[in-house]
Symmetry: C3
Subunit: 432 residues, 3 copies
Amino acid sequence: MLSREENELLTRTAPGTPMGDLFRRFWLPALIPNELPEPDCPPVRLRILHEDLVAFRDTEGKVGILDALCPHKLAPLFFGRNEECGLRCVYHGWKFDVDGNCVEMANEPPDSAFKDKVKVKAYPVEEWGGLIWVYMGPAHLKPELPQFEWGRVPETHRHIARWLQTTNWAQGMEGEIDTSHISFLHRWMDQSQAPQRRNAQRNFSIVDGAPVLTLHQTDYGFVYGARRNTGNGDYYWRVTQWLYPMWSVIAAQTWPIGGRAWVPIDDENTNVFGYNYNAEAPLTEEQITMIESGRAFPPRTTRERHMLADGTVIDHNVGVANKTNDFLIDRDMQRTVNFTGIWGVNEQDRGLQEGMGRIVDRTREHLGTADQATIAGRRALIRMARDLQEGIEPAIAHEGHKYGVRSMDIVSPEGDFNRFMEVHGDAGKAKV
Amino acid sequence: MLSREENELLTRTAPGTPMGDLFRRFWLPALIPNELPEPDCPPVRLRILHEDLVAFRDTEGKVGILDALCPHKLAPLFFGRNEECGLRCVYHGWKFDVDGNCVEMANEPPDSAFKDKVKVKAYPVEEWGGLIWVYMGPAHLKPELPQFEWGRVPETHRHIARWLQTTNWAQGMEGEIDTSHISFLHRWMDQSQAPQRRNAQRNFSIVDGAPVLTLHQTDYGFVYGARRNTGNGDYYWRVTQWLYPMWSVIAAQTWPIGGRAWVPIDDENTNVFGYNYNAEAPLTEEQITMIESGRAFPPRTTRERHMLADGTVIDHNVGVANKTNDFLIDRDMQRTVNFTGIWGVNEQDRGLQEGMGRIVDRTREHLGTADQATIAGRRALIRMARDLQEGIEPAIAHEGHKYGVRSMDIVSPEGDFNRFMEVHGDAGKAKV
Amino acid sequence: MLSREENELLTRTAPGTPMGDLFRRFWLPALIPNELPEPDCPPVRLRILHEDLVAFRDTEGKVGILDALCPHKLAPLFFGRNEECGLRCVYHGWKFDVDGNCVEMANEPPDSAFKDKVKVKAYPVEEWGGLIWVYMGPAHLKPELPQFEWGRVPETHRHIARWLQTTNWAQGMEGEIDTSHISFLHRWMDQSQAPQRRNAQRNFSIVDGAPVLTLHQTDYGFVYGARRNTGNGDYYWRVTQWLYPMWSVIAAQTWPIGGRAWVPIDDENTNVFGYNYNAEAPLTEEQITMIESGRAFPPRTTRERHMLADGTVIDHNVGVANKTNDFLIDRDMQRTVNFTGIWGVNEQDRGLQEGMGRIVDRTREHLGTADQATIAGRRALIRMARDLQEGIEPAIAHEGHKYGVRSMDIVSPEGDFNRFMEVHGDAGKAKV
């Protein structure tokens, strides 16, 4: 449970809010490179942290992320011409490069110096590790890119997707650090129809629905182990990382390993980025087919012009199963096949999280011992956001190398988390 | 005409409002039993008096009406599993019975006492008289069920339906006690195409469009007689009851007799319940066909997921003719067949009432002598709501037997209402 | 750039606002006559200056524009019966004539004088010059109709249409006095596919995208000349008028000449009226085909029930290319055929203007020398609105004859605007 004030602090990310300031200290994923597939391709409309933006790839392949509106008369740059290293507003022909410089102001006299005085807001952009990144904070505080393992592997070794969730970012993020829900929300009574049948261990979640959690604070956030009894005297450990300000690395028994990032669009919508990777080998065709089936992450989506509450349009990948169709719930399936009657794992998560309303009222919650990680994640973020308001910058934003952690999903006789990490931590690269 | 303050008082029913408090002193219809057709069937989403709820029928057939959201993390119970005498939230497996007790908390340690400390809000429910009823007020003030005649007859003798009206509740309710509108809104110039051709008396409404009203206050609300000249020296009397807080018993010349209840969803939407019954015999197949044709009440509807203004979804029966299609108005029909060019009687009512806006601005009205009953109904409700704020409880909520009244629709030589009631009141069971 | 307060003043037109008061000093176009095609035809729903209205044509052909709601119980008159010189509310049969008098109150006793005390709001209406006009201001200040040349020609010589723009009125109006945008927004690289191929002069806009503007204040507003170099030593002049409070007469080389009026629906929607006319001869079939093709003005539209943000419905002509389909932008067409990839001239304008949001934030603009006319138009309106608040009435509202001006589009050796007007002004009837 949070106080009303804490819930506001956690969920609000507009410019000038404490959490909005904190997000503006980190590189954030903005797009998948193939959303801007080639030089001079059509621009893409975005909203990030309540700011309306347009992204384009110029003639040299560089990506620019600009204010959505031309500074002249606020016409939408989305309709612009993407030509010769600049995006040209079609209303009066002003042209801007990826750095926001006005490189041509064709409706003013040739000798006018006006164009040198006008810039469009442009944020620093990096294209790295299968993502287009944006930094929306103060120039002199520009951070390091987080050196995730999936970012450093060859492109063939990873798969990344972006999709829309119509809730506040924190609502989705909290699902990542909520190990106990997998025993229920993602339970398949009929394992033969489950999306991933790696081995029998997955069933341990069903055997023991009340895991014992141990959580360690780290520089990057925290790592936590969820210990379940296997029923055979051993323990089934799931070790998951949560990294500032909104990353997860989720446990998986075999490659690929996956996780997500939750980037606020505004307080009521979120850009979700989901990755899957194999650090040791290219993803196989079978694995890619599985990933793209929509059975887990990412969900099945269609490319849409999505209208936000205030009428602004963004370009996004919208779930085929969504709020307007009750996530295609099948009550017969719910009786016999899986716990929800909803087909895909993300669809199950989104179904419940979107059903909580756009911004869940955390003053009404009743959290138990299973919610330790959720509580820890909120506290860490709220503390960091408050610190920043007092001038304490988040050091981790400048320590990209600390993001190179890996999750674990292992059966072991070890029952103590410290001991378990001593034995397995190295092998699994799960750097605490 | 009401003052702005009176209009607010009349129309607002959220928790803590005077009218909201008054509604919370009565049993209210919530659903039709066949919306929860069998044990362990899918739950139904409801909003009543601004409170989001979920209804389910458990394994033993008992109906529970719970808060829409699980108290753990506010996940929607609608997606829950309806299993073994409880509705189980699929997010983390908490399970609740019809009384709101948490009977299982599967993600907490088996020895945890946490579940005994957590309840979900659950309201008392009764299934009686062809309705599922809910009581949303203080436990120690639980009222009696209103003993309407249609509630006491065998199931074969009645027909009840529920549908959506997208206006404030009072806007619909006032149509019930507005006898003069039937001469216009429901006039059929071509009687051969009219929905109900019982006998020639219906034409009296056309012969005399300006009825003389006499109204008697009663414990249950009021009864009023509308007297029209037949043109033959006799009087055509329609005697209608209005009962706290929002019931009508409408005059009809022959069985079935019908009426409605108007239960606020929120200030801008209403659950309408319409009944038709014969106190003396089962409804015939022909009568049921007529009732279900949509020519009168209930209207033609489709079952829909209906999204309210704040994005919340409720399950409802939505009129085929509605605001988005101008109630299928046919201007040619309007010229020659009926007064509106709209096909069904409820469709005519809804067309006009929804066209007034969600909450009509009663400060702008110009009421005449024909609006006596409307004025009386408002005054009675406003007085009762104000009384309640001063601690005076509505006695009628505990006098269910007083609801056993019956309407009348009779031609008589009697011109005085008191005399008319002496002569006809007993025969017609219209207890004043 | 405007201050926030100036932007509010410019854009807000509800009753009681300064700009709303100013608009209420002029006759405003309300409908095209063929929207009420014959006596006793179905009424049409309108909103003008934030007031919900209903228009009907009575049995004698006279047009009435009334409050949308019946004064009795605020039922929508749109559903009314249009019969025998009056619109009758179908709820209780009250009937009103075009002047708002209640001519029958059928649900009150025949001897009641109540009907003489009740009026429905009714505004003065004129049908003249191919338009239905309404005056919504104080009765004693009723102005003159503006004697536009297109209003005084025979009906065969003109074409007028009405359509919806989903932005504030000023956003559209400013496009009219923004000559430099035609060099970009309306440029056709492939002239063979351009909507109007009158002669080669149109290309001058492309040769010189930075016109030199000269602007003269006049009683009716202003006239301005935009001078471009032809590249042959001559000058290409476009002379355009802007007239209070929101009219344009746009330059064209040959007949027909056209222009627009921008009438606020509310702050976020606008009724656009577009005219095309030939002062000297009837429009040819070919010209009408061209006008109605949607290549320029008016756009392609469909007749729709259009729901405004508060749920109120108006009857309007809605663009086939609109915000929900990105104005059917074709990025391939944008590369090679025209500057925008959008097909029609109005569609190009609307695309950009609607993309700026409902009410553009003028505090963020960066206006240059090309925006002189825009700045002048705003200033003139703001000054006139402020004057009116201090009791200075707009004289021009009573000088209808001053609206009889004509635009010009001419190549000339004259480089000075005054000199140019001396030489060409008379011939072109462009009265300064």
